[in-house]
């Protein structure tokens, strides 16, 4: 079966096949344990148990001491959110807005200050460009993932 997952390096397509109780991916093998964990046998010969849990569309995997967070991309889903929007990394309160619509900003410039978990967090411009929209003012609550500001990237 074929699935797509988002990874920090981009979308990855994975095709696994089942023969009897054993799943195959190239030379790697996997079986499902009665308690819901997976026994993964890597091509190199190593073998370890993976603990898995799904939260919404994301599979959380603990394997060999590392924790992975792999969002499954629904077949046919459009890929949005890649451009322009500066989103809240976590829920919190807007403390200050330091720019105005139309303003020219430089990469690294502080655009907005959020407060969450009793700490200040700065929203920085990732590139130079123009601010094209501001969606919150100081004192407002924001949810994780809320688009806080929008900007266009300057062409070099």
């Amino acid at each position: 079966m074929q699935h797509q997952f988002r990874t920090p390096e981009g979308p990855v397509e994975v095709t696994v096949a089942k023969q009897g109780d054993v799943w195959h991916l190239g030379e790697h093998r996997a079986t499902v344990e009665p308690d819901g964990r997976l026994r993964i046998q890597l091509a190199s010969g190593g073998s370890a148990l993976a603990t898995v849990a799904k939260v919404d569309d994301t599979w959380w995997i603990h394997f060999e001491g590392h924790t992975f967070c792999l969002e499954r991309i629904e077949p046919g889903a459009s890929q949005s959110g890649e451009e322009g929007g500066l989103t809240a990394p976590m829920p919190g309160k807007v403390l200050d807005v330091l720019v105005q619509v139309g303003q020219i900003v430089e990469a690294g410039q502080t655009l907005m200050i959020l407060e969450a978990m009793k700490m200040e967090h700065r929203i920085l411009a990732s590139t130079s460009g123009h601010i094209t929209g501001i969606h919150f003012t100081a004192g407002e609550q924001v949810q994780q993932g809320s688009v806080l500001l929008e900007m266009t990237e300057d062409e070099d």
Binding site: M1, H3, F5, T7, V12, V14, T15, V16, K18, W23, L25, H28, A30, V32, P34, D35, G36, L38, I40, L42, A43, S44, G46, A48, A50, T51, V52, A53, K54, V55, W59, W60, I61, H62, F63, E64, G65, H66, T67, F68, C69, L70, R72, P89, M90, P91, G92, L95, E115, A116, M117, K118, M119, E120, H121, Q144
Partner: protein, 503 residues
């Protein structure tokens, strides 16, 4: 006499204190905000009273309401834990005035140590060395900024701005260059004002390459003020401790003795009672400087408990009840290490994370202690501090303690919320940690561009395969096996003919 303790806190430290009360045979009362109604600490208390209000200010910082609960429940003592109201002298005073035993030092001791500038002056007067720096007493923003700018030229760069009412890294800024001073000062003042209602900041020279070493103090009403040796807490990110140990790897008997004496002198200078911690910077030269005194139990108290065999919270209860402390001579045995498990993304500058604790499986076995307030199935919310648990190990030697910590972290599984688990695990392999040459700037020095895990590509393959197989096999649609067993018989109970009917 103390018979019923109200615990004015939440999370792991509330659990710690409530269990100590249970063991001591004391009745206990928990208070909780609505979003904590299902938290573990609420279960551990004999009584639990809901607080009205939504914000922290309306609940855990609401002195009036907490005192009402104490009166309502007949609590005759109050333990503030750490954070929240634990270092608020006005609250300690109000508690005492209500006829309730405050489990901690006197309001005046809190005041004199709580204001960091006053503490610096008190310590200087008592002959305890303080870090070169200057106090800025004015509350007015413009005046303060001018004074800070002037003082900065005398203190020199790099320097630290610290909130006089601060703690936990809040209102603290390191300033490398004069041109960054004013923005840093404004930001520190703003954060301090929001967090503590007091915007005053002072300047200290930033002593790089130093260790953060602190001395645990206990003082009772029977004339004893003792220290329980040191903890080293140099490994910090965002000015917050993340890896703590006892004893300090480079400590000598001579420095321990003089640092211990200075700490006891600091405590006696303010007629201290109960448990407290005197923090020092220890320079490579062996010189040490007073940083501040925390007039409460500390997050990292377990490492001291494990190497000294003293139950510090239990001693707090004893001292508050007017009894002499029960511990004898200081005897440090073996080595203890604590790491703080945070819900945070170590690859994104330790940004706090939220989510469900879908899987939360701590390690087990000899020499491992877990202090936590969460359980599998709980939710990490943005309302409170993102610390999930403290994992503490003890072993006969420092090497063995590090080996045990590696093993423990390898066994720890947390899914559903991003944590710093892997960061902590890789910390245990850092040469500075292995050889004990940690200092307060280590994390910034090692990972100036931020931390990323060392990840063999094959492990990533394994994880992708696990996700694909789990999705294909529909594991998310199956209940866990253990939750719904159905092929086993319980023991057969013999039964007789007596019939009862309910109700």
């Amino acid at each position: 006499m103390v018979s019923k303790v109200l615990v004015a806190n939440r999370g792991e430290i509330a659990c710690r204190i409530l269990r100590a009360c249970r063991e001591a045979g004391l009745a206990s009362v928990a208070i909780y905000a609505a979003n904590d109604a299902k938290s573990f600490f609420v279960e551990l208390a004999d009584e639990a009273i809901a607080l009205e209000g939504d914000s922290i200010a309306e609940t855990y910082l609401n002195q009036r309401q907490i005192l009402e609960v104490a009166e309502l429940t007949g609590a005759d003592a109050l333990h503030p834990g750490f954070g929240f109201l634990s270092e608020r002298a006005d609250f300690a005073r109000a508690v005492s005035q209500a006829g309730i035993q405050w489990i901690g030092p006197s309001p005046s001791a809190i005041e004199r140590m709580g204001d960091k500038m006053t503490a610096r002056i008190t310590m200087r007067d008592a002959g305890v060395p303080v870090i070169p720096g200057e106090e800025i007493e004015t509350e007015d923003e413009d005046e303060a900024l001018i004074a800070i700018e002037q003082a900065s030229t005398r203190v020199g760069y790099p320097l630290l701005l610290k909130a006089s009412s601060g703690g936990g890294g809040k209102g603290m800024r390191a300033v490398e260059r004069p041109e960054d001073l004013l923005e840093a000062a404004r930001s520190a003042r703003r954060e301090a004002l929001a967090a503590f209602g007091d915007g005053r900041v002072y300047l200290e020279r930033l002593l790089t390459g130093s260790k953060h070493v602190e001395i645990q103090i206990l003082a009772d009403r029977h004339g004893r003020t003792i220290h329980l040796g040191e903890r080293e807490c140099s490994v910090q990110r965002r000015h917050q401790k993340v890896f703590e140990e006892a004893p300090c790897a480079t400590m000598t008997e001579e420095i321990r003795s003089s640092m211990g004496k200075a700490a006891v002198a600091a405590a006696m200078a303010v007629n201290y009672e109960g448990a407290g911690t005197v923090e020092f910077l220890l320079a490579p030269s062996g010189e040490f400087f007073f940083l501040e005194m925390n007039t409460r139990i500390q997050v990292e108290h377990p490492v001291t408990e494990l190497v000294t065999g003293v139950d510090i919270v239990r001693e707090q209860l004893r001292i508050a009840a007017g009894e002499p402390m029960s511990c004898g001579e200081l005897h440090i045995r073996g080595h203890a290490i604590e790491v703080r498990l945070y819900a945070e993304d170590a690859t994104q500058n330790f940004l706090p994370a939220i989510g469900p604790l879908t899987v939360f499986q701590p390690p087990e076995g000899p020499g491992i202690r877990l202090d936590t307030g969460v359980r599998q199935g709980d939710e990490v919310t943005p309302n409170y501090d993102p610390m999930l648990a403290k994992l503490i190990v003890w072993a006969p030697s420092r090497d063995e303690a590090l080996q045990r910590m590696r093993r423990a972290l390898d066994e720890f599984v947390v899914l559903g919320t991003t944590t710093n688990l892997r960061f902590l695990r890789e910390l245990c392999d850092v040469p500075d940690v292995v050889d004990g040459s940690t200092d307060t700037t280590m994390i910034d020095r090692l990972w100036p561009e931020g931390w990323t895990p060392t990840l063999p590509i094959e492990f990533e393959d394994g994880a992708l395969m696990a996700a694909a197989v789990a999705e294909s096999a529909g594991l998310h649609r199956k209940a866990s096996v253990s939750a719904t067993p159905n092929e086993h018989s319980g023991p057969v109970s013999p039964f007789m003919t007596l019939n009862r009917r309910y109700p």
